[in-house]
């Protein structure tokens, strides 16, 4: 069976002619970086085909995986090798032809390593999309060129902006079925830009593609001569993500106190953790929350030696010049730039449990390395994520619904607005009886 490829890939107008060649495949220079992206969509809009295409064209699909998919395609009587079958993981998904959960997939080109959070697109899987978007640098929203923007595309774009995914790609798929029409593409593009005006969209790229035939996936297609933007993969390889991190607000949630119980280092006391944001250097003046004590950074250490500058997402151990009583859940930051210290939290939450959220409810809350209890004081409104209409005076928030709530915690959180800091602005809520994670929360400006 054949895997369709574009008949004659256009010469790379953008001056880039990467094509996956044997041997060059997945070999990467030292120091290459990583991009996490999320895709949301259903079987119909070609999401699985697109992922299969990216894996196939970057030669990240192995012969035995391809054999299995070819055999399955043949059994089902497909004309083409159904690349979508590569991404159906669980037995129930294969049997029912659906995607249930977030699946993580990996591929690499000589420039970057990619992690895909592949999530189902239907409204009953909103929580999975939220989960996939939480760690993504970029989100791909897929649209069927024949259908244009549908409710689902708007919803996906909204979730990506709610979770502050810094880059959005609108991939207008199935261009082959509209004769690669520029008019169709432009109309969808414009309609999306109109809609996106309501969102707080950081960065948008729109690409006309055919995942099935490979148009504008790896190289620019001869079928869309009117399109002068990058191919999808070119964009994924080059989009600038290191500036997306917050390097201004120094935040170090203390995760674990290292105190070796051995004779040679018995006076050692170090605070281990992951830099949430900002840059820390030896000599920096710091304060510790909640105590407010101040000190200086004596050294920043790792097993590989001391570090001159620590920045996200480095995992390090900070030692201070003074002996202070610091424990897990405390936060080290700079004296002139502290987070909110508050027990009253305004937040958008995505509810992930069958049992609805209602005011008065008590839950466990985990935020950075700190765990507290929280009470839901108020449900301000629920949001219709298709129309963005607010429904006030709703008594509860149901599964997969998004709403704005007010929480009161048993002890203060050291938090930043989520829009400024994804690491110190996000939290989860946990049902204290079942121990299940029931909500994702994004802290708002107080």
């Amino acid at each position: 069976m054949d895997i369709p490829t574009p008949s004659a890939p256009a010469d790379d107008v953008a001056g880039r002619a990467w094509s996956p060649r044997e041997g060059e495949r997945r070999r990467r220079p030292r120091g290459m970086d990583m991009l996490r992206f999320a895709t949301a969509g259903s079987v119909d809009d070609g999401k699985s085909t697109l992922i299969g295409r990216l894996l196939f064209d970057s030669k990240s699909i192995f012969a035995d995986q391809l054999d299995a998919v070819e055999a399955a395609s043949a059994r089902m009587g497909d004309d083409y090798v159904n690349l979508a079958l590569l991404t159906d993981g669980l037995r129930a998904e294969r049997e029912q032809g659906i995607t249930i959960d977030v699946a993580y997939r990996y591929f690499a080109t000589p420039r970057r390593k990619f992690i895909i959070a592949d999530t189902p697109g239907h409204i009953q899987y909103t929580r999975n999309m939220v989960t996939g978007a939480s760690t993504a640098d970029l989100a791909i929203v897929l649209v069927d060129a024949r259908k244009g923007l549908v409710e689902q595309s708007r919803r996906h774009a909204f979730i990506a902006t709610l979770l502050r995914v810094p880059h959005l790609v609108l991939a207008v798929n199935k261009m082959d079925l509209v004769d690669y029409s520029q008019e169709v593409f432009e109309a969808i593009h414009e309609e999306f830009v109109d809609f996106a005006a309501k969102l707080d969209l950081p960065d948008l790229t729109v690409v006309p593609i055919s995942a099935l035939h490979g148009d504008n996936i790896v190289t620019r297609s001869v079928n869309t001569p009117w399109y002068d933007g990058p191919s999808l993969l070119h964009h994924l390889e080059n989009v600038h993500v290191s500036s997306d991190r917050n390097l201004i607000d120094a935040r170090f949630p203390v995760q674990y106190v290292i105190r070796p119980q051995s004779a040679n280092v018995h006076d050692y006391r170090g605070y281990a953790g992951t830099i949430a944001s900002g840059v820390f250097k030896p000599g920096d003046e710091i304060i510790v929350l909640p105590s407010g004590f101040s000190s200086r950074i004596a050294s920043i250490e790792t097993m590989d030696g001391p570090v001159a500058e620590a920045f996200p997402p480095m995992a390090v151990t900070i030692r201070l010049t003074d002996e202070l009583d610091i424990s897990r859940g405390d936060m080290i930051c700079r004296p002139n730039n502290a987070p909110m210290v508050t027990q009253d939290i305004e937040a958008m939450v995505c509810w992930m449990s069958d049992k609805p959220l209602a005011p008065g409810q008590k839950l466990a809350l985990k935020h950075t390395t700190k765990s507290v209890r929280a009470m839901v004081k108020q449900l301000r409104y629920t949001l219709d994520i298709n129309t963005l209409h607010r429904h006030e005076a709703t008594p509860s928030l149901g599964l997969n619904e998004i709403g704005r709530i007010v929480l009161r915690t048993t002890s203060p959180l050291f938090a930043d607005p989520y829009r400024r800091n994804r690491h110190t602005g996000g939290f989860v809520l946990i049902d204290e009886t079942t121990n299940v994670t029931v909500a994702a929360g994004m802290i708002l400006d107080n």
Binding site: L90, D101, R112, T135, S242, Y256, T274, P313, A315
Partner: protein
Amino acid sequence: MSAPTSHPPTEVSELSSSQQEYRLSELSTLEAESIHVFREVAAELERPVLLFSGGKDSIVMLRLAEKAFWPARIPFPVLHVDTGHNFGEVLEFRDRRVAELGVQLIVGSVPEAIAAGTVHELPDGTRNRIQTPVLLETLDKHAFTAAFGGARRDEDKARAKERVFSFRDEFGQWDPKNQRPELWSIYNGRIHLGESIRVFPLSNWTELDIWQYVQREGIDLPSIYFAHERVVFERGGMLFADHEFCRPREGEELFTARVRYRTVGDASLTAAVRSDADTVEKIIAEVAATRITERGATRGDDKFSEAAMEDRKREGYF
């Protein structure tokens, strides 16, 4: 003998070579995220244990654990489920590494469980399936509440959907349809008595990442990972070592070939691949060019059905 890797660990300062950009390389990012996971478990779960097989993934995992708590010792023991079908080189390696790190080694023995009648030898003599009850029994006996496993999501379709913190009920079972949402780098390790968490710090690593990390860190591996001459026979398109637990059947000819192992598991199930790669550098080149997944190439245990891994995980396999 383990093949020497001449590369000294890369200076961390390599990370900020482009000082202005504060860019962390892909391997350093993966390393930092794994260290975060180790610390989170040590801080939140009472009795963790690290599952160590002697394979490259668990060896890398041990290195990451060492880094997470340095200069203190790794604050949890190491557990090896011994099928009795081991490669001698691997056991030797295990004992040496455990002694170097000063961690406690706990062995869950499949042969002892067979002798005690708690599990029964399968007709085909393979022990992958029967190691699961031994693992669960050992975890239970020591009341471990969290077990680190070296599984990676790129290994298998079912694993692609598993969480970093994988909740297991009191029977050690995984329920793929009932997993806890996992957002940002916030992990939920809350459990009731009898329940546990399997933790996969290498979830986002690929086979190539592992090898590049082995190279960067100069990590020692058991010699069977490197090309060597071995007496083998062919079965089902795979090369098996002539081993006391895995003899050729009628019609299967013994011959000598230059081979190496891509995974190290039960000697009766793990096959070798033809290879000339006798250094980490050559293995990286080989892995980068290879066209078959490591499990597809070498693990008889995943060939039984399309959902073989999913089924074993449901039963409590790691």
